[in-house]
Symmetry: D2
Subunit: 318 residues, 4 copies
């Protein structure tokens, strides 16, 4: 049973981000008090519009949407293009003929909004970060006290076995390694990481995926359409045995922690200097003879119960 959750979502919507947002909005236990937008799967401008599209679909344009950062801390990072998976608009190439007005975006900066919300709800907020961590890094640099006022931080990002959807790293950490480094070093609240490897391993069967995306509702059609491009690639190009779910799995973990069946507590660091490992999350266990001393303990999700996730995904498209 999901317990009450005051949530702020930091996101780069993004096709699977959209599903995660639908999940949050479909759960009575979740009080989504704000969405902070960040570059990543697509441009910040697209992310803002995509977020509003999902909120409109759910008649939840009351949820405040904040504009955050448009590029990584080190902007000249070799960029990576996620349009192969997410389409050039970040929504699978499925335009909205009547997109919500950009006037709905709050004037307050996402980073300032994060700090303000944490002050208004001390110890209550579950901050769910499913894009590059640029906004989160800026929030702790602007206010070193910010993170201690959070209930928890849950991150979709990083990897635990050296590989990812980028060579040596996972996309969100790869896009802004310094931001990931800063966040994992400085945040003092409990941190849960749902790494790329876990998302791939805990995918859903393609049979179930086909059934789910056949749900004959407005939200069901929406999900079917935006995921089509990425999931076709996953099935044919990457030849995944299971339908990988990244941001939705992370959201499921936040909504109902009891679906998590195995975690690992480990000190971690983000590599920022490697040629092919830049952005890799590295576990730096104390058992090493020559281990770096400055790792930060996080809870890494390893396994989840598929039934719990499916139930939440079904509810999201009702």
């Amino acid at each position: 049973m999901a317990s009450k959750c005051t949530m702020v979502l930091d996101t780069d919507v993004g096709t699977d981000d959209a599903v995660a947002l639908l999940m949050a909005l479909s759960q009575p236990s979740v009080d989504l008090i704000g969405v902070t937008c960040v570059h990543g799967n697509t441009s910040l401008d697209n992310v803002l519009v995509n977020t509003l599209r999902v909120l409109k679909l759910c008649n939840r344009l009351d949820v405040p949407v904040y504009k955050g950062t448009a590029c990584p801390l080190i902007s000249s990072n070799k960029r990576t293009d996620a349009s192969f998976t997410h389409g050039s608009d970040g929504m699978g190439g499925i335009p909205d003929p009547h997109p919500p007005s950009r006037d709905l975006i709050q004037s307050e900066h996402a980073v300032n909004a994060l700090i303000r919300m944490a002050n208004e709800h001390p110890g209550e907020i579950s901050l769910v970060a499913i894009g590059p961590l640029t906004n989160l890094a800026l929030a702790t640099k602007m206010d070193p006290e910010f993170s201690k006022k959070l209930k928890e931080l849950v991150i979709m990002g990083g990897n635990i076995e050296g590989r990812g959807n980028r060579p040596g790293a996972e996309f969100n950490f790869f896009v802004d390694p310094e931001a990931a480094y800063i966040t994992l070093q400085e945040y003092t609240c409990p941190i849960t990481v749902v790494p790329w490897d876990t998302c791939v391993r805990n995918g859903l069967t393609w049979e179930w995926y086909d059934q789910w995306t056949s749900t004959d509702t407005v939200k069901g059609h929406f999900v079917r359409d935006i995921l089509k491009r990425g999931m076709t690639n996953a099935r044919t190009f990457y030849k995944r045995h299971l339908a990988p779910i990244f941001d939705p799995l992370t959201m499921a973990v936040v909504i109902n922690r009891s679906i998590v069946s195995e975690t690992k507590r480990s000190p971690v660091l983000v590599e920022v200097k490697g040629d092919v490992t830049r952005g890799q999350m590295v576990q730096v266990d104390a058992s090493f003879v020559d281990h770096p001393k400055n790792g930060r303990e996080v809870d890494i999700v390893l396994k989840c119960d598929a039934d719990g996730i499916k139930e939440m995904l079904m509810k999201a498209v009702e």
Copy 2:
């Protein structure tokens, strides 16, 4: 003749920062609309108090003082201690028995204040940065439009001949190399850099220095006291032939550009990855066969007229 200047000073006061601030306050042409504080020569807490001390000395506690960032972007940077030069309090170890109240510090964050002031004075502000560039980097990440609203940015920092007061680099860039990198890459307003090498070469004679610090005024005594430690080190430990002036030279350049007798326009980059060159400012001239393409053109000050500087320094202690 100095032209009218709307100035914001970003500083880590610091003994020579204090002199630069005295200089700005002594010039009728300068309208100092704010001081934004940053870690560097000493802790942010010391910087705030030190700034207020100088303002009080000049009866200018009306100038708003803003609290900025307390550590570099990548906090775990190997820190460097400037207390050898600036004392543990950043003011040469000269305490104020009756320091100004910290209640005088504005509640608005320095980075937000920078953005707001630029919006209120578009195209007018000379931003003078004489500490690590952490606040400036955050300002452009928070608002990519920020820098285009400035009249100019003048930086004391970086080096042009591979050496500095840290191995391979100058202190301000060494302390936060990523911030220096971001600032030089992203700021679109005209940038003038007063590098370490120029400051050392354009020092003042020790005779003149002794005469200046013998000025029998309250400000003269103050300057004599706070500089004593650092200048004694410069004279005996580093065996400098001239009294180096870093932040004051930079301030002099802003107040009266005509004292500059030689500059060089060059594309520059900040090295962020080197083992011993981290923080080095590198000139990447287009004449190289294999030159990096992403340097940012800045005006580097090479030589200044000593008489002009001396006049401003004298006025600062009247």
Copy 3:
């Protein structure tokens, strides 16, 4: 059935290296034409003596032993100490009261010997490298044609899941990352890598291990004694469920390739620049959107048949 094998062993004997050498010497199919020594588990001087000790134990002092490099290419690499596992003498702290004379060591340098042997046996040599790859890197730099004259190169080293017995890396690659990089980039013969992860996963049961080290022969007592320290650590400190076998597993793969039940062909690179990933072997599959183009295809051993290994281990202590 093992086919005939002309072998050169490059090794940093080392406790498990000693077992691998015993295995090679016990197989009629193996013609061991030379042992080239390298720093690693212990100092080069210890490695030379340890190699001679094993040869003497087998009455095989006719096998030529060559002295190679005493330190990594970049000597000032932060060193790592393997004495926790191998003892200060590299043989588990078990001295030989009558060690063989160092006069038995060839005067020819190991690197020159490697090149000469390849010229004398073109296309025939299986080069088995179970220490840091410093000698191998020098051989290809001294003679770019060297590696094409080998039949194959089999390496114990590297990792495939981002972790190792050093943070982010495996010991042999960690000790000399540049040498590993050079070897994997430049060797043109077929390369098989037996990574750390595979060795840990394909360990033997502790029951079998205890039985094996109870073999009541001179060689059985020797093996029992030298492995005691490391295996006790593996069992109690690292809490391994299986007795890990690194160099012996690699030797088993060379002696009888048919024990390998699963391999993976993948382009790989060695990270040389990371802060915590220096020395990591990274798989750079072509399926990545932004993959580095310069990976080198190798065969990575994933699974082996335990019975085949056990048979060879038993034969080694007869």
Copy 4:
């Protein structure tokens, strides 16, 4: 007056290398016992032929020429092309219609020859290195005792003011930074460095250069022809006020140390990790508050007497 000198020249001939070689051969005080060739200004194959051409020109084909390394330690280093200065053949694009036979090249590897010669002439050899330091790095890795048997090592390479003929670095160190690092860290004999900056500053007047290259001798014509391309670039493209002499200045320093009028003794390191500073020589003086401890003391040549150099250059084309 030049004292007797037993010399080994390690070179990547190269137009100015050719002049340096002419200088050595024209001095009775110099006993050139070998030339070891290395990639650099042009391919190793070109270097070998170019070396033989110069020896033939001087009727000194008795001097043994050794083939060394054809690429840097880390071969995949972003290569840099020196053909703008040296032509595609490394000799200014001036072919020899009847080049000496490649059969004249010794079969012994350059690195082994270096080690052997040092053993045969302990404490006597001046090793003059005017190309990338790949051979020298291999020599000390192959035999850690090698360098202590040298009288001295004189290097043309590195820079002292952060800039060079490559961004942040000088060509020879830029081409193989790891080799430069290893050489400066491990060589125990006295080391003299003639850096790029010194060579540029101690150039000759163009008037004198024109006069020198008008010398009406076979060698004079040769020098005029091979230098034409590079010197025209120096004069027009790089707009140098003086004709820069790199390898010849270094050779002059070895032949007659008394032409050196100013040197500086400083611990130095080579940066191997920087993005734009890779290959930079960095001075790490002990006076720094946070200085790296592992610099290696070398004598850096700063100023030379032009008349002494001119005399040797004139003699070289007699």
